[in-house]
Symmetry: C2
Subunit: 395 residues, 2 copies
């Protein structure tokens, strides 16, 4: 019952556009024989400020994208059991996968004559791994249950914790407020959350769900458990964000913790989460494309982007792939791990945004990080599909 003028900004219009772009992304993906993620991000670039300017990254889009990322990692988590992804090997892979990109990023930035504060920040942006992207590509290919996938997911989770530390250390160094005790507190909070969260999920919440499944009063409403499960996913995401981890680490932990729940009477909450994820993760991938504004690129910055992207991939190959190989993981799986850890995705974008807001980096570096992040994100699905998993896809 509103006037015509409000339609362009209306919720329906934005939903139609976002879903239309997702569908276009699938078509692009199938035409160029790539992962749907790549197609949807490319479609997002086309409709974003770079070219058509149809979609802007406003409150509505960013809220739904955020929901999408949380739900996506919850559904990914449901595919894993805790003991599969917690191994000392993965801690080594994660640690070196943070340290080497950080150092290399610092020096490449110095080489391009950026000042020391900006260089520290550029290094930090290279540390993060986006689990969302790689996990979705592996899921799409039906490869989530392989050993390499478990290594990637396990290491990427630890990575997220470590890159959070790298971020707060960087901010402290640049702002001259570095203190060892603050770092210890952050580490302690993160470990406590992961430990207590996993324990609570596997005992208390799993038991509650099995109990609810048996209560007649509850299974008169078969949807109750689905709402309950989604509440837990968002609850874990909230706590993760509260202690400074990214929200998706929380929802992933919720998924892993509830992976053993088997319902008899109530409807399947994992099916439900899967359907939610289809709509909202698509919106998340569209939003990643929309965030890229190609107008900001100059010739000088283009060279920096290419160098940064090369460094980003090479340092994860050395930092993650090499230790994997040294720990007797096969060469092919080590390559899968190295390239699988490469996508920086939204995590580097968030780091860049924090740097921009704190005026530690300029607009040009921000754009360079965002595009590096996108290139690494597109590269992995291409290499997986056309080389490392060639001919092995489950369809």
């Amino acid at each position: 019952m509103e006037g015509t003028e409000g339609i362009i900004s209306s919720i329906e219009f934005q939903m139609v556009l976002l879903l239309f772009v997702s569908l276009a992304g699938y078509l692009i993906a199938s035409m160029i024989n790539q992962s749907a993620v790549v197609g949807i991000i490319l479609a997002g670039i086309v409709v974003g400020p770079s070219l058509l300017g149809w979609i802007t990254y406003g409150d509505f889009v960013s809220s739904l994208a955020h929901l999408g990322a949380v739900v996506l990692l919850f559904t990914v988590g449901l595919h894993f059991k805790l003991e599969e992804i917690t191994k000392i090997k993965y801690v080594v892979i994660a640690f070196l996968g943070i340290l080497i990109p950080w150092i290399a990023g610092y020096f490449i930035a110095q080489l391009f004559n950026f000042d020391s504060d900006a260089s520290i920040f550029i290094g930090t942006a290279l540390t993060a791994t986006s689990i969302a992207i790689t996990a979705n590509v592996l899921k799409e290919m039906g490869k989530l249950e392989t050993n390499a996938s478990k290594a990637i997911i396990g290491a990427a989770i630890i990575d997220d914790v470590l890159s959070l530390l790298a971020l707060s250390v960087s901010v402290d160094i640049v702002e001259g407020t570095f203190s060892a005790s603050a770092i210890v507190i952050t580490i302690t909070k993160a470990i406590a959350f992961l430990g207590i969260g996993a324990l609570m999920g596997q005992t208390v919440f799993t038991r509650i769900m099995h109990r609810l499944d048996q209560i007649t009063l509850i299974n008169r409403y078969p949807e109750f458990i689905f709402i309950f499960a989604m509440m837990i996913a968002f609850f874990y995401a909230m706590i993760a964000e509260l202690i400074g981890l990214s929200a998706i680490v929380g929802s992933f932990l919720a998924g892993v913790s509830l992976a053993r729940v088997k319902l008899v009477h109530c409807m399947s909450f994992s099916d439900g989460a899967e359907y939610l994820q289809i709509i909202f993760a698509s919106i998340f991938f569209v939003s990643l494309g929309v965030l890229v504004d190609l107008h900001e690129i100059t010739i000088e910055i283009l060279w920096f982007i290419l160098a940064l992207t090369a460094i980003a991939v090479v340092t994860k190959l050395i930092g993650c792939g090499l230790p994997a190989r040294l720990m007797k993981i096969s060469t092919r799986d080590s390559l899968i791990i190295g390239f699988g850890m490469s996508p920086r995705g939204e995590v580097a974008m968030i780091v860049a945004l924090i740097g921009l807001n704190k005026r530690l980096i300029e607009q040009d570096i921000y754009v360079a990080i965002v595009i590096m992040s996108l290139l690494t994100t597109i590269l992995t699905p291409i290499l997986f599909r056309n080389w490392l998993f060639k001919g092995q896809e489950e369809t």
Copy 2:
């Protein structure tokens, strides 16, 4: 990676709260043996500004609630075939169900000494029927496929079109710009939309979906059709809003139009829509409760609310139930139709909000309409469950 201060307004926190309140609503519903809708709205009142003040009706909540209403009516639409709900009988029921509440509303407002402009608006607020509420209650009870349900749904859709007309006529009368030609244009647009929308859906879109289901390129991505179906739902909702109908009439029409689609290879989009609806329709019902601020009620206004609510129910019984009985529908089904058409739900609230924004009504009348709307909304499920459908529920 944000600070603690942002958590309360964070997306995760709001999602946890909304889902928690929904779950509390289910528990309340099962304790007082009522429909889940009633429980969730009551829970919404408790956490809204009336009592606890935990949830405010901000952009995020209203966006998700809006999504919920659109998806809800889409899933309701999928249960119907077009010819089941388009009958001349239903037009009669809808027409009288608009006219009688409008006139009675005007006179009761005059009786309470409100001025003539406000009285016209109060009458208008009584015309609308909220399909969302009744449809959900019928769905919950497994009674969507009964004849009375078809009459209610069919008449409620026509009602929505007619009450839109009533609204624009009222605004024109009050503002002194009443013209017959504008009314004709609005009617023509509404009829054209319903006709063309139904035709396009049953032919073009249904065929496209059957075709897509057969294409290997597409069914490599089984989720493609689900995204496509949701895009159509939001597209219809957008067009409906564009021509001045409420968005939910559009998504209902999309559902009805796609009700005959049978997929062989791709995943079921109706299952997917159902899961989306579980989460977001719950949020919609919570938001209805949150919209009620009981603080605004004084003793004088309380009497007006009671009178208005009684008139609201009685006029739909006379306007819809009586003509149904006269057209040889059984007494019980006529009562179901009369009470089924009673909930004013969010439609009356939207009318009241428009009146408030145009300064045609004051804050006290606004609150009275909202609470009347809520009371009629709560009454129907109670009467259905404890009287008209007593002992017949499918569980």
